[in-house]
């Protein structure tokens, strides 16, 4: 282990350049957070429209609008993070298909096409059948759009903390969490108790599952590699400890508690607070997990 080695050799780096700093910062956090909402709302809309087709028709328009807005926020932050943002078109004209960045860009473009089509048929043509048909394709494409960032993190081989398939599961859970939270806020009081309970359960179980996974990473992650031990020290008494636990509490623990209380009391008000808490906490949680592996010196 790193510390044993240091103690044994008493080795100190006395001359070297500093760390490269955080290369993927809050802009990439915004990217992941907005994508979770943009695809998550499509998953939840599909589920509700299949299960409650008679009661839930009014969510079609807000769902697709939210998806369009947040996917474009995701794309905006993706592009502005590039140091040469005006060369973004190179991804399409000089694509390297082994890169998850390329694959993600192509998938996201296809997904944008589908959700724009859904909006067109619903708003311009008043064709709900076509909307629903496109929604099914949208769900199929939303899965890899949600997952490609996990693939990118897995390709970031220098960062041992990010492993496949753990990150892919976290991405899906983030989408379900963000999608259900957004739908709770969108629906107002128009949803029936049954639908509210469904949304509360999706939110609660997503939060519970994501929390368990983070805790397992915290406990068992150090058994994977020396780099993971050193990385997790930043959240185990290190400079990101407060932010990490703040994220876990706001994103997962508070929503879980409020979901239980809201189901028990049939309080939609508490569910809305849980939704806001989950969305805010998700940003913090994602940010910490994105940043800490970058604090480790590679050389």
């Amino acid at each position: 282990m790193a510390h044993e080695l240091i103690a044994a050799t008493n080795a100190v780096v006395v001359l070297d350049v500093g760390l490269p700093g955080i290369v993927w910062g809050w802009i990439i956090t915004m990217n992941m957070w907005a994508k979770s909402i943009g695809t998550g709302i499509i998953f939840i809309a599909f589920y509700l429209l299949k299960k409650y087709p008679e009661q839930i028709g009014f969510i079609r328009l807000p769902s697709v609008i939210i998806s369009i807005v947040f996917i474009h926020i995701f794309l905006f932050f993706t592009v502005i993070d590039l140091h040469q943002m005006f060369r973004f078109w190179h991804i399409f004209f000089h694509p390297h298909m082994s890169s998850m960045i390329t694959i993600g860009a192509w998938l996201a473009t296809g997904f944008v096409g589908i959700i724009l089509g859904m909006a067109y048929f619903l708003y311009m043509k008043k064709d709900e059948a076509m909307y629903d048909k496109l929604l099914a394709y949208g769900v199929v494409l939303a899965v890899p759009v949600t997952l490609y960032t996990a693939g990118l993190m897995a390709q970031s081989t220098a960062r041992e903390l990010w492993q496949m398939p753990t990150e892919s599961i976290q991405m899906m859970l983030a989408a379900f969490l963000a999608g259900s939270a957004t739908m709770i806020l969108v629906g107002g009081n128009k949803f029936s108790d049954e639908i509210k309970k469904d949304l509360a359960l999706i939110l609660g179980f997503s939060a519970l599952s994501a929390f368990i996974m983070y805790m397992l990473e915290l406990v068992f992650g150090p058994m994977k590699a020396e780099e993971v031990i050193a990385t997790l020290e930043f959240v185990k008494g290190g400079e990101y400890t407060f932010m990490f636990w703040l994220g876990q509490i706001i994103a997962f623990l508070i929503p879980m508690a409020l979901v239980c209380k809201s189901i028990k009391d049939k309080s939609y008000y508490l569910l809305k607070i849980a939704a806001v808490s989950a969305l805010v906490g998700l940003w913090i949680t994602k940010h910490v997990w994105l940043v800490i592996p970058q604090l480790l010196n590679m050389s």
């Binding site: 790193a2 050799t9 008493n10 490269p20 390709q155 970031s156 081989t157 220098a158 590679m298």
Partner: protein
């Protein structure tokens, strides 16, 4: 042809001639390095020793930076060098995230990724990389790994059992070898690093450039 590098750490005396030669040859901007020499002090007084480790791109046969680059700006050339096309690079920094050796940086002037290319432009003109030429003790050995009669191949053969690569567990198959290296010299986690402090001055963070 598979070009490779070998540094005999037993010979290196930390003069940083290679660092400067690289800077001059490749016009590497201030605060950025394609090649640098890390000093690590080992032991407690009076039993102390200073080690020197030149660090550069490893030109891996299974390069994560090449794989993650979305536009093939990082690409192999036929002699095994992982080269970079700065005109094509979009500055996504994926390569920086993927490289386990911290060998890639964003050039603050061009706002594109950059790294050691084994002086590919010099090799194209049948010249040795500038760091090889500058080394006063011939600690840098460069040549064709596919040719058993090349200096580097012979050196590797002669020093069987004492030839190392950095982070072999990553499976990147580096084409950059060390002789006389050890955990302290090759494993960044094996030594304590006081952030911001160095032997000669108070270095600050390496700027990544752009809007970050």
């Amino acid at each position: 042809m598979q070009l490779g590098f070998l540094v005999d750490l037993r010979l290196c005396m930390g003069c940083k001639g290679c660092e400067i030669a690289c800077k001059v040859e490749n016009e590497v901007p201030l605060s950025t390095w394609r090649l640098r020499v890390k000093y690590v002090d080992v032991g407690s007084f009076p039993e102390t020793k200073r080690t020197f480790t030149p660090l550069r791109c490893n030109h891996c046969a299974n390069a994560p930076c090449e794989r993650i680059c979305p536009v093939s700006a990082l690409h192999y050339i036929e002699n095994g060098i992982v080269n970079i096309d700065k005109e094509r690079c979009i500055g996504c920094a994926g390569c920086i995230m993927a490289c386990p050796y911290g060998a890639i940086y964003i050039d603050p002037i061009t706002q594109t990724a950059d790294k050691c290319t084994y002086c590919a432009h010099r090799i194209a003109s049948a010249m040795m990389p500038s760091c090889v030429v500058a080394c006063p003790v011939e600690a840098n050995i460069f040549g064709d790994l596919d040719d058993p009669m090349s200096n580097i191949s012979k050196y590797i053969q002669e020093h069987q059992g004492n030839v190392q690569v950095r982070k072999p567990e990553k499976g990147t198959d580096p084409h950059h070898y060390y002789v006389g290296g050890g955990n302290v010299t090759l494993n960044p986690l094996a030594s304590f690093r006081a952030e911001g402090h160095s032997l000669f001055n108070n270095l600050t963070h390496l700027p990544v450039g752009g809007h970050h």
